[in-house]
Amino acid sequence: MDPRVPSLELVEPVCAGERRAIARMLSRAEAAGPEAREALDLLYRRTGRAHVVGITGVPGSGKSTLVSKLVAALLESGRKAGIIAVDPSSPYSGGSILGDRIRMGEISSHPSVFVRSMATHGALGGLARGTLEAVDILDAAGYDMVIIETVGVGQDEVDVVRATHTTVVVSAPGLGDDIQAIKAGILEIADVHAVSKGDKPESDRTVSELKSMLGLGLPATGLRRAVPVIKTCSPRGEGVAELLAAIDAHRQYLVTSGEYEGRRQSIRERRMLKAAEQVLHDEFERHRQGRMADLLAELSGASISPHTAARRLLAHIGMEVTR
């Protein structure tokens, strides 16, 4: 393929499912250059069919291995799967080692599967810049389920839930007591819980702790749906079919309860705000050597506060803030 093929010429081949075109379009989305903007806008109009599923959990909890088994089950049901696997970038060099493919072995070469690794490149929240546009591309290319595997998260990286229809939180057994399970954050966002490494004896305890936490929460949060907790053991393939069934059932629930459109609308809102932040950020970067340097000099003399400097920076790019 010609390295300089225009992004607009990739739109139709992407929608026809051509892998080389999909791959190149994903690179253009990740680079986020202005050349790709129009093509991405056209592709966005062709989205809306895929079930977008987030898989999140602490590092080493078994996300990649579970995803590969889940995809194998999905293939058996005759569906196509796109996977975006996010791994962290080094805060020092900016480079990364993306190793999620190691666990995905044979399935990643299946003609109905497309796996793409992405580095966070400084983005927080468990996703990478460009992840959601990558979802659009795979959706438009006809993948029935698009799975986002987040970086290994801590307790607070909940961006994935604001970007997906169904969020699966993977918990590994033996990582803390039942108070961990009632803390705020990552465990709250699950539409489906998976407890990995089900061959370990502690896994049953983790399952029962999660279940009792969910039992406590039901009346207070007004949840209309019990969140399933599924024990999985990927090497033995145990719990995988149940997990896929629970993911499918959640989408069905969203549709029948009428929550689906609401969730999609909140994803759109979130994306608009995120994109606006990004546009502003890029705009600031353009003034790094100019106005921003002047303001920094004033700041170092302590003649103005950071807040005042921020207002002046905004005023400089034509955004007078009155309040």
Partner: protein, 135 residues
């Protein structure tokens, strides 16, 4: 278009010696590149499929099993068949100089032999990507 170079590092066939590739992966990461590692015992088809999906700039294959004169030509053919000749194939390992020259004549962009210092791997990759131009 992005300045971050994407490299896939892979081992193919029956070759379990992965200490070298791990050091190379780490070196490239520290040079600011995104490095995709596929793990051990991949088939040439799996590796080329993965390189296409990942749209890497450079595909680096480590072969220490002695099968390089079979595997590299096969990988070149697979890249061609997938309209992916713009992915730059480079090799690392131990082989006679004349075989390295023969592989380069076939289309392997560079062969880095056993005494290559880590910085040379980084500069070689940067040079090859710069010669190809932006994508």
């Amino acid at each position: 278009m992005s300045d971050i170079i994407r490299v896939m590092i892979a081992k193919v066939g029956l070759d379990g010696h992965d200490r070298g590739v791990k050091i190379v992966a780490r070196t490239l990461r520290d040079a600011g590149m995104d490095v995709i590692y596929t793990g051990l015992h991949r088939t040439p088809e799996e590796v080329v499929d993965a390189a296409v999906q990942e749209d890497v700039d450079v595909l680096g294959i480590s072969i220490l099993s002695g099968a390089h004169m079979t595997l590299f030509p096969k990988m070149l053919k697979l890249l061609e068949a997938r309209d992916a000749e713009d992915i730059l194939l480079i090799g690392g390992g131990v082989m006679p100089d004349e075989e390295a020259a023969a592989l380069k004549a076939m289309g392997v962009k560079e062969i880095l032999l056993q005494d290559t210092p880590p910085e040379t791997i980084v500069t070689t990759i940067r040079r090859l990507v710069a010669e190809r131009g932006p994508k």
